[in-house]
């Protein structure tokens, strides 16, 4: 492939991590394609990121209104062709509301907004964002959310665990999943999930804030590197 991987970053009214996502993409060798939520075209992007923030003020429910955006139609088509989609924080909430990912995100068990670096364990390599990582690998990535408690109905949770759809779990620095390491009360410590096919992934931690050693941990970097390696392999 002669060109750099192109990653669309969708900006909704109230998104506030779109620029950091675009910066992370550029920093790690990709080309960021800004897309306004009202556009129904992803500009020929190879992958798409739904960034964090508070789309539509989180009114009604987080992500409940953003899912009707014209850009979400394009995301659905993009996802249906098996190409990578990543929802970060509010982007994760939007993908759940849109039915592209299982489960839902509700208020943190503590009711507090939590902003700190957490450890997450990679649970599966069956996504483009983790294909180049190792299962059991621990990443340091910040979270910053008030409504990040992952929940699902008992049947849906059994399906998520049965089909290995959990991608990341909150853990101790040593990779042990425990209640103490769970910042928000998420069921089974789930920090991120994928769809059945594996190309659509959502997570509450912010990999785009963890790519620059000058300003903090770099646990987000491997996700972008994995995505770009996968894209370069399939596009060449």
């Amino acid at each position: 492939m002669t060109r750099r991987p192109r990653v669309a970053v969708i900006t909704f009214p109230g998104s506030n991590d779109d620029r950091d996502a675009a910066r992370a993409i550029r920093l790690l060798g990709g080309e960021a394609v800004p897309v306004w939520h009202g556009e129904a075209d992803l500009g020929g992007a190879d992958a798409v990121i739904l960034p964090g923030g508070f789309s539509h003020g989180d009114y009604l429910r987080t992500g409940a209104i953003a899912r009707f955006a014209p850009a979400l139609g394009a995301v659905r088509e993009h996802a249906a062709t098996g190409r990578p989609v990543l929802g970060i924080c509010n982007g994760f909430q939007i993908l759940c509301e849109a039915g592209l990912l299982p489960g839902a995100l509700i208020r943190n068990r503590s009711l507090s907004f939590i902003c700190r670096v957490v450890h997450v364990r990679v649970e599966t390599r069956r996504t483009p964002f983790t294909a180049q990582l190792s299962e059991g690998e621990v990443l340091d990535i910040p979270i910053k959310h008030g409504e990040g408690q992952f929940v699902a109905t008992p049947g849906e949770l059994a399906r998520i665990e049965g089909e290995g759809l959990a991608v990341f779990r909150y853990c101790t620095p040593d990779g042990e999943v425990s209640e103490e390491a769970n910042p928000n009360g998420a069921m089974d410590g789930i920090a991120g999930v994928r769809d059945e096919r594996g190309n659509v992934v959502g997570l509450m931690p912010h990999p785009e804030h963890a790519v620059d050693p000058d300003i903090g941990p770099t646990g987000g970097q491997p996700l972008f590197e994995s995505l770009f390696a996968e894209l370069l392999a399939t596009l060449s």
Binding site: I106, V151, A152
Partner: protein
């Protein structure tokens, strides 16, 4: 054309821990009310719907509640019809 008014009550599904409800429950004994065994915090949404056919109004509200006003993964709802007077859009000049 007639205007029918409805209230939709939204609560987290039974079996899901309700963090707001638990926090409110935990605070009640500090004010002397120690006998409250359950608190569920939800949402209350009022709607005024203009319809030709009054019978279809409730079905429409039920559908809106199921498809948009609530997330069936985490929430239950119930719809109640309200008395017609003093609705928010009785004058037909609802907000845009």
């Amino acid at each position: 054309m007639t205007v029918r008014r409805f209230a939709v009550t939204v609560t987290l599904k039974e079996g899901l821990l309700d963090p707001q409800g638990e926090t409110v429950k935990g605070a009640l004994p500090t004010m002397g009310w120690g006998n409250v065994t359950e608190v569920r915090v939800g949402k209350h949404i009022e709607l005024a719907v203009e319809v030709e056919d009054a019978a279809g109004a409730r079905a429409q509200v039920e559908e809106m509640a199921a498809r948009f006003l609530t997330n069936p993964v985490i929430e239950d709802f119930r719809v109640e019809e309200l008395p017609a007077e003093a609705g928010p859009s009785e004058n037909g000049q609802g907000t845009s």
